[in-house]
Symmetry: C2
Subunit: 436 residues, 2 copies
């Protein structure tokens, strides 16, 4: 039996009409056997997401305050859907139990996960499919990290017992059985875990955008859609942020070589973006451009540093002691730069500089602020000799000053550092050079 695992985002399940649309999509292909729903999202600009209301309930409960306000809003959302679809009052009984339990929970995880739970309960009744609670198949370790192997083993066995099932996204269980959620957007991870455990040949991720765009549409006017990209390219484009697919959702499916298809419930006929283990199809030299502002470049200067065993290690030790992660570490002769997300450095700048002085006795330490990083990514760049020339010619023509360049041996990604003020201009110039 071939299996497709299908995940739907919050806007695809925001009201009764969208539930019907989801059911139509599922019925269209009988291989769509397992469905992972998010919690109902915004119906219109300015609307509240169910999950946000639930976080508000927990916050009020923590302060000993009444949280009926937001919880009743949640109830109203589900009631409207149940009534329109002619469903039972199972959701209302579940909501009563939730109302009682919220004040007893120390963390927000339980409350936050109830949107997916209720949505799953309702969808399983509407479809007539089994309901499988993720606390029975998705496990976190005592530190709250996904226990991926244990999860995979148990989930795989459990799925064989269901021919069709609804598995709510976003959460699982701690070793003591308490509910634990992933970070925001974590239903994508649930879907990927289920796809791997089900041995699916495809993981469909239905959302409200047509797929991955080649560049940020707030910067580039109507950027092209990426029709296919490799897992690897997706990771290299991770500066894009997690707006389309959760960063960690790639790992379970990559392990099993399962392709991911990003589809849009707004344009269900559109093929969307396909993320594949490997492809030799190349549409254009570059696959996409990602980047954002807000980096710092820390520069350490010391004469003859490359002859000093352990110099680089000591610089990185200073970062580690302060719990700071870094993005890149380009270097010249006697100069070592560390590119850091500015949020990593907040409140730690002085301590870091002091510690580097102590550990490395440098000639100087300097921090340049307001740097933006731009990653130009593409499998078509490998072995294509003209890419860097084209990229830098475009930036020159646009008058962009290049503050840093970093290209490792993957040849899949050239990372350029520019001033924050040049960021949009640089992205547009690169896009124009390779795409238009």
């Amino acid at each position: 039996m071939s299996t497709i695992v299908t995940k739907f985002g919050g806007t695809s399940l925001c009201d009764a009409a969208h539930f019907e649309n989801v059911a139509d999509i599922l019925r269209l292909d009988p291989d769509r056997r397992f469905v992972v729903p998010s919690a109902p999202g915004k119906r219109f600009e300015g609307d509240e997401k169910v999950t946000d209301l639930l976080y508000a309930c927990h916050a009020l409960a923590l302060e000993g305050k009444d949280f009926a306000g937001p919880l009743d809003k949640v109830g109203a959302r589900f009631e409207e859907i149940a009534r329109a679809l002619g469903l039972s009052d199972r959701w209302a009984r579940a909501l009563s139990a939730i109302r009682e339990r919220i004040p007893n929970e120390r963390t927000a995880d339980y409350a936050a996960s109830r949107g997916e739970y209720l949505c799953g309960v309702m969808l399983s009744e509407y479809l007539g499919w089994d309901f499988l609670d993720p606390t029975e198949v998705i496990f976190f370790d005592a530190e709250g990290r996904l226990d991926s192997e244990c999860t995979h083993t148990l989930c795989k066995v459990r799925l064989t017992k269901h021919s069709r099932a609804v598995i709510p996204g976003f959460y699982g269980a701690m070793p003591d059985g308490a509910v634990r959620t992933f970070s925001r957007g974590g239903s994508d991870i649930t879907g990927a875990i289920v796809a791997r455990a089900a041995g699916a040949f495809l993981y469909e991720n239905w959302t409200d955008v047509p797929g991955f765009l080649m560049a940020d549409p707030r910067i580039v006017d109507k950027p092209r859609l990426i029709t296919s990209l490799t897992y690897r390219e997706l990771r290299e484009l991770s500066y894009m942020g997690a707006s389309v697919l959760h960063e960690e959702a790639v790992f379970p499916v990559r392990k099993a070589g399962i392709p991911v298809n990003i589809r849009s419930t707004v344009h269900p006929d559109h093929p969307g973006t396909r993320i594949v283990p490997w492809t030799d199809e190349v549409d254009s030299t570059i696959t996409g451009i990602a980047g954002h502002k807000g980096f710092h470049i820390l520069t350490v200067e010391k004469a003859m540093m490359n002859a000093e065993i352990g110099f680089g290690r000591r610089v990185l030790q200073a970062l580690e002691e302060l719990g700071i992660t870094f993005e890149h570490m380009p270097s010249g002769i006697d100069t070592l730069c560390v590119v850091l997300d500015e949020r990593q450095l907040e409140g730690k700048q002085q301590a870091l500089v002091s510690r580097i002085y102590e550990l490395t006795e440098p000639d100087s330490v300097d921090i340049k602020t307001n740097i933006a990083l731009i990653a130009t990514v593409g499998r078509g760049m490998v072995g294509n000799r003209g890419t860097s020339a084209r990229l830098f010619a475009a930036l020159t023509k646009a008058g962009v000053n290049i503050r840093m360049i970093d290209q490792g041996s993957s040849e899949l990604n050239i990372i350029v550092g520019v001033n924050n003020a040049d960021f949009e201009c640089a992205v547009r110039a690169i896009y124009a050079a390779f795409v238009e």
Copy 2:
């Protein structure tokens, strides 16, 4: 009293005619008060350097063998010079003492330093200047490293006692008074130390080449001479190797902001290359191109490595434990590359890969061999927007595949990794793009 410290290389003191030439140069400018001679070098293609003969003496003595052969050759060289210049037999008495002491020395330092010593003795007699033995003013610590501050303090006081003096290059004293030499070419360092201690306004380094060339003349046909470059640019060009000026000679003069003038005794009228603390004179966008073959790129892949505190530090710890220094560390997303000199990795490759696996649990580790690094350096590149575009366009046109790019925030140097086989072609292409 203004002071110039003048250092002469071995070919500039290879025979009596060259001694006369050196004396002419010194007399031409009365500010040339302190002179640092090397040992007599080759007089013709295939000739032996005095220092090589002295190393051979020590090696034979260590094995208990007779070393009269090479030592007599040394004697003959000095005898010829003494006779032609009408000098006393002071050199011959010194040589007898050396002959007796060589078998008692554990290290080669004493023997190796006698070429400079004898040359200095002879030059001081010829010029009628004081002789100052560097064991009285240049000090090494117990680990054999130059004790630069102690040396500076004592040398400064001592130089005030001489209006004109000859100070042999290449050696100094250990804490126990034993002779200790610098690495090959170390007379350049002696000259720089003396220049700083004498408060010289100029350090002249006379050699047999006209100065620094913009590129390796074995690769580029008749490359242009660099007329001026900053200390910083010189360091960035250090891939050039130490053929013109010893790598460490910059540090003492840089501390005091003393310019260095590389001059040629073959063309004494030519102004040579001037190395200065700072200049706003820009002749061309790039100042020089340096590079060499024989690097490896070690690539470590691990999903989400940039979110893992201490990942980079652990990779560098593996290198440190094995005593390996690295050149650069460019990175992508989930990929970290370390560029290493292949000599650093010799016999340690397996151990390094194993240790990285133990410390970082990577997805994969890979070593790419036969990589050449090319540094394109120039103060004219800072803020000059077209540089990278021009550089990469030239490489593209030449059909060179770019394996790595690294530009830190100094903006003074773009480092490119190419295949060994593309090295010469790449250097010629860059030179042609910026110079011709």
